[in-house]
Symmetry: C2
Subunit: 180 residues, 2 copies
């Protein structure tokens, strides 16, 4: 047993972590068996929100959102620099309409060009431009230095966290992680 987080309401000096406060309330209401799961899921939501805010703030000078950055990043990894928009949605696990929107914005910014697939005219190819490559490389470098390399965990802790999150993704039936 470790020291319990203080639930003392008189400790008004430092602001109590809202997540730990919620957890205490859960326990006090007799929902002890759900308290830790609630706290974990709330914490996941919170840290995601903090990361997306941080990343989008850094990308703003480039006129990119994280979603659009991911599209560019994906295209830049392909051999020919292009991918059908359906494939993009599949890889990034986003709705087709979201891909249409992102690719439209990227095309308006001159970072990708659209063309119809030569073998299947139903399909639309998104092709990264030179300008798009320049932008995505700069953004990748920036995010690598300021965010991804800066994660305040030891390497083995990152691997541990990845494993735990992987379990959760599997349980939730993440299509990207089939249990087969």
């Amino acid at each position: 047993m470790k020291a319990e987080p203080s639930t003392d309401p008189s400790s008004a000096r430092r602001p109590i972590d809202p997540i730990e406060l919620a957890r205490s309330n859960w326990v006090l209401n007799g929902w002890g068996s759900a308290a830790s799961g609630m706290a974990l899921i709330t914490a996941l939501m919170r840290v995601q929100q903090l990361y997306i805010s941080d990343i989008e703030r850094r990308l703003r000078p480039f006129g990119l959102t994280f979603a659009r950055f991911e599209v560019l990043r994906l295209l830049a990894f392909t051999k020919r620099g292009e991918l059908p928009v359906g494939k993009i949605g599949e890889r990034l696990q986003v709705h087709p309409a979201s891909v249409t929107n992102a690719v439209q914005r990227l095309e308006d910014a001159g970072l990708v060009r659209r063309s119809t697939h030569p073998d299947d005219r139903r399909s639309v190819l998104a092709h990264i431009t030179d300008s798009g490559r320049t932008a995505v490389e700069a953004c990748t470098e920036l995010l690598n230095e300021t965010v991804f390399s800066a994660v305040a965990l030891k390497p083995e802790e990152i691997e541990q966290a990845l494993r735990l999150i992987g379990e959760l993704r599997m349980q939730l039936g993440d299509p990207g992680r089939p249990s087969e």
Copy 2:
């Protein structure tokens, strides 16, 4: 050094986890020092998305979103069943405009009522109604049973995950977790 995750591109049989694929690409591009952090942050975004989808699907029959559920839950925990909307935003870490929107919807649904603070007429109090209490208890029970208690990790793994996420929140300057 531990065994590296497979980067073998020939394993095309089962759909590769997009996150592990991105990680491989990061390593192949010489961004090894950022690869695990990128994978962790991408995984956090993904699992958050899966949880929010799952939770909102379950809340839909009640006409609630997760954000609105959180507001109700917070109010139900207070002694008098009421809180200034500014405090709500502070606790849940959301923009004042978002609170206004959520409370407006909740009021339209008859789950909360608004009144002006007696001691400071600038401030608006949100007060949970009997109907709101009934709804939030039903939703809490449902989420506890189907989501929060069902987290597919052992108790000590949940605590481990909470600790690791806590480190990340601290690094990101989560106002709810001051480093003092």
